[in-house]
Amino acid sequence: MQEQQFTNIYGGAISLQCRSYDAASCREFSVCTQKLSLRGLTACTCAVWLAAYALFAYTENSAVLSAAIFVTLIGLLFYLHFVKIDQESLLVIASLGIQMTSYYASGKESTTFIEMNNVKDVVINEAIYMQKVIYYLCILLKDPVDPHGISEVVPVFQTSAARHLPTRWTASKAAGPSNSFEGAVQVEINMCILETTL
């Protein structure tokens, strides 16, 4: 297992861990984002409370203050349980499929599994996102009706917003005659490349 440090598109630090299991065709990649920072938490709480005090001074109704406490608590719970993702992992089993898991700060996990025979390819694509133009890694799913079509594009490591640079990727993509690979092997190769380009 090795760990490497990178930055995401917002300039925040993220770390990548790669684990190889006994079978050579089974690997896990996990990206950890920064933990909830005390500074951010304090800033948000202070902002809500200051606003509440201002409102209290104006209306002289103490219900405002109790409401502020509830808003902070419920907001924090909501944030930890539904928004803040601490870790995203991608488990690739060449013969079986790809499992994507997100671990929320509260401990909640959400998992998606993609069968290997649904995977058409793994590519790095460009998109306009929030006043930015970014590269992102995504899995293309086969369209069951049209064998050459793509039914869906599944972005990987979406919340950690890792920077995927396609430099190595294009080169190695071109080096191998990609048509002769089986889908699974190809995904495996692309994952290895992910390791180097993230």
Binding site: T7, Y10, A127, I128, R163, K173, S178
Partner: protein, 480 residues
Amino acid sequence: MACGIEAKETLPEPNNSYRVNCGKWSLLRAHRICMVSDFFYPNMGGVESHIYQLSQCLIERGHKVIIVTHAYGNRKGVRYLTNGLKIYYLPLKVMYNQSTATTLFHSLPLLRYIFVRERINMVHSHSSFSAMAHDSLFHAKTMGIHTVFTDHSLFGFADVSSVLTNKLLTVSLCDTNHIICVSYTSKENTVLRAALDPEIVSVIPNAVDPAEFMPDQDRRNGSTITIVVVSRLVYRKGIDLLGGIIPELCQKYPHLHFLVGGEGPKRLVLEEVRERYQLHDRVHLLGALEHQDVRNVLVQGQIFLNTSLTEAFCMAIVEAASCGLQVVSTRVGGIPEVLPENLIILCEPSVKSLCEGLEKAIAQHQAERSPSPESIHNTVKTFYTWRNVAERTEKVYDRVAGETVLPMCERLERLFAHCGSVTGYFFAVCAVVNFLFLLFLRWVTPDSIIDIAVDATGPNGAWTRQHISTGAKKGKRTEA
């Protein structure tokens, strides 16, 4: 990578062109050019094809070219065209006539991101009707990138709307490095409108693809004479004159036919004329034409008529001449510069003069004194080629790359001096605000965390590099 690139120069601005060929410093300068206009495919028109063809020829000459435009319906994001020409369709709101709304500031974050990640050192805006083109000039100047502007149209001086656009153009162009016009008349017009120094205005005409406009002798109908008109049916194109010409000539010549391609509000005028004089079998209104159908319409006639009241550079008459038609046109704007005298009959923009011109052309045709379509085609095809346009544009880029971009203080002084006290002051404040906004954006997302994009074209272009040429298609796939 292999040919030794000097990544940075010592000039103050961050984005300078690198040079290929380590030895010769000034030779073979590869620019990284960003074309900006609101008008691009799938929208059809002269500006669109100009940008596309020019970009393709510049790519052929080894430059890196990207195009930035706004999203057209479902066509948004990043796309690639032939030879790795990369297009950014930005999600900006369209306000009027396919032109985006402008607030001067809102497009800065995205445009800055693109300029940085593509390492742009030359911003080339097209068309004075495009708000995005002016915005990008404004931002590029704030970021210290060289700017070039191409003007594709003529304006008046008298009415309120042109007074306002002229004022905006003055502001936008007073600190632009270089301006390109499509004809000398257009240059004169632009210099007057924007109060520019004529030294920094170049004339580079448009071009046509001669292979697309080949004459076709078999398609012509021997006994009758057909006059072809292909233009948008609007006031500017002089359709009211056409409405006067049609009945007069149809009475004189029983074998004369009119073929009118194009759509617009003035179609009513022509329909009325057709109705009143019972000319349904002789005046054909074809409606809107696709670009690829234009040639098939042109070759059906012997004479091409252009009745424009104002025109910077008339592409239509070059296309018609390339198809081997005798051209009759009004003497307005840049038209007299376009074709030599033996290929065009010029008239005053009046019904009487145009009728005389057409009669002359008909007489020439009947006496078979007019040159053969093939010989006209062979003459015209040497006049305007895109390769030549690209070569001349490249010279402009080379010159501009040697100049320095005005620093902020000089830019403000220029604004005060050129644009009058009120407008100058207003836009100087805007320029300062824009600069502060840029500093803010640089603080939020520093240039260092913006990923440098993989070049599709240019000296290091993934598309053009030999060793991956087979895998390029697969590797550079973009989503539909």
